[in-house]
Symmetry: C2
Subunit: 234 residues, 2 copies
DNA sequence: TCAGCGAGAATGAACGTTCGCACTTTGGAA
DNA sequence: TTCCAAAGTGCGAACGTTCATTCTCGCTGA
């Protein structure tokens, strides 16, 4: 941003290119620490990872690390806050999608695939688990969830106004269901089962279509009468 | 706290006969410890809860506790193993349901409601997060998931043989989706949002119907063509 | 009498954090 | 330019605490 230009000019060109100013150097160090912390938290969990472990991973002494973060708690909060931004592009695509069904289908799958491919699924699970106990984390998570809520909520309203959503179902119930689905896809260990996430697209689309598309559900109870002749097993 | 062991110990001679034997007393103590551990893990997480905390909650000294469990690790494993049984009745109901759609709808919601009502959702989140790092826990969890897989898998096969499931979708993809949904409903903080889980039944049924019910999805891409005139927002 | 139980102090390791110090960079005065 | 004080940075030993676990010993019921 607002670098002292004179200082930059006193430096040799090579050094200036690498770390042009104090501010940037500081930012680079912060990033280095965050990367190390992410790796350690991923491997050992928030409580399980020690500051020593993180220092070693960042190739830095404790004294140095504590110049950048006031505490382990602060580090955890920074990790949570930094990882919310992952969704930005995906959210934009949901808003731009030709229909709510396409948007949600692709958005959910893209999100799940991104998280699993980057290997960050355990970290997500950790964040959500920790947020149920840690008030500060909970607030951070809520704030980042707000963006998601806003985008999907707006898309739902828009689709509803267009008559693309079954009027029987209250809109404010659809959103939590979507959120829970996304949550499940990310937290559940899909890759372990050997499922390709992209291959799930037809099934996901069918499911979301069932949820949102009008008609066909005036009284769903007929499914009961229809299938009385059925199921039991050993 | 209403701990079984407490009550038993303060009971008159007649009632004491119920837990007279060494074995039964030992079992009661184990239960007392497990209850305390569950409460502490729920509040502070596996790593966050200390043995001291658990001892205090169980009203027991460390020396006593260690007569029943070899380590904190062992306690965690016991908690994970004991909490898998929650699903037994719900699973049975899924198998007995008149149709796969009814079974899955009610099963998923019953499971979610039970977990949330008992306030154990954070513990579930904790277990799943921890299992991604701890090999032993992972095995325990896998084993308990096997039961669920078996029951739902059997129900799916049965329904599929009856023609109740869209033949286009491979069965082995449906199961992970169901699992992920259940997982999401449990782990996501539905009650915080103020949603009554039972009220979600129509929406859930519509969604599962969309996923399983035949017809209507020969080429779902028409949803794209249909809605080209759509969505953007502020 | 004896095996098992329970309490609680003791132990030793690990942890988050701080401290003191040496080194470098910065910005301005001489 | 040269010099200096101030500020910033990094290191790693050290600190105080907390933790999981063990030990010792007295107690209890059979």
């Amino acid at each position: 941003m607002n670098l002292p230009a004179d200082t930059a000019m006193e430096m040799p060109a090579v050094a200036r290119a690498e770390i042009a100013s104090r501010f940037e150097r500081r930012e680079a160090q912060v990033l280095r620490i965050l990367d190390a912390a992410r790796a350690c938290f991923l491997k050992s969990g928030f409580q399980g990872a020690s500051m020593g472990e993180i220092c070693a991973q960042a190739d830095m002494s404790p004294g140095a690390l504590y110049r950048y973060f006031p505490s382990k708690e602060g580090l955890i909060e920074a990790i949570c806050a930094s990882d919310k931004e992952i969704d930005a592009k995906i959210l934009a695509n949901i808003a731009k999608a030709p229909s709510i069904i396409e948007g949600m289908t692709r958005g959910l799958l893209a999100h799940a695939e991104q998280v699993h491919k980057s290997g960050m699924a355990p970290l997500f699970a950790e964040i959500f688990a920790e947020a149920k106990r840690n008030q500060t984390l909970n607030t951070i998570l809520d704030r980042s969830m707000c963006d998601v809520h806003d985008v999907i909520g707006a898309a739902l309203h828009h689709a509803s106004a267009n008559g693309d959503i079954d009027p029987v179902l209250p809109l404010d119930q659809l959103l939590p269901i979507m959120m829970a689905m996304g949550h499940g896809l990310v937290t559940h260990d899909l890759p372990k089962i050997g499922i390709s996430i992209q291959a799930m697209e037809p099934a996901m689309r069918a499911m979301i279509e069932g949820l949102l598309r009008p008609t066909k559900k005036a009284n769903a109870d007929l499914s009961l009468a229809e299938h009385v002749q059925s199921s039991q097993q050993t």
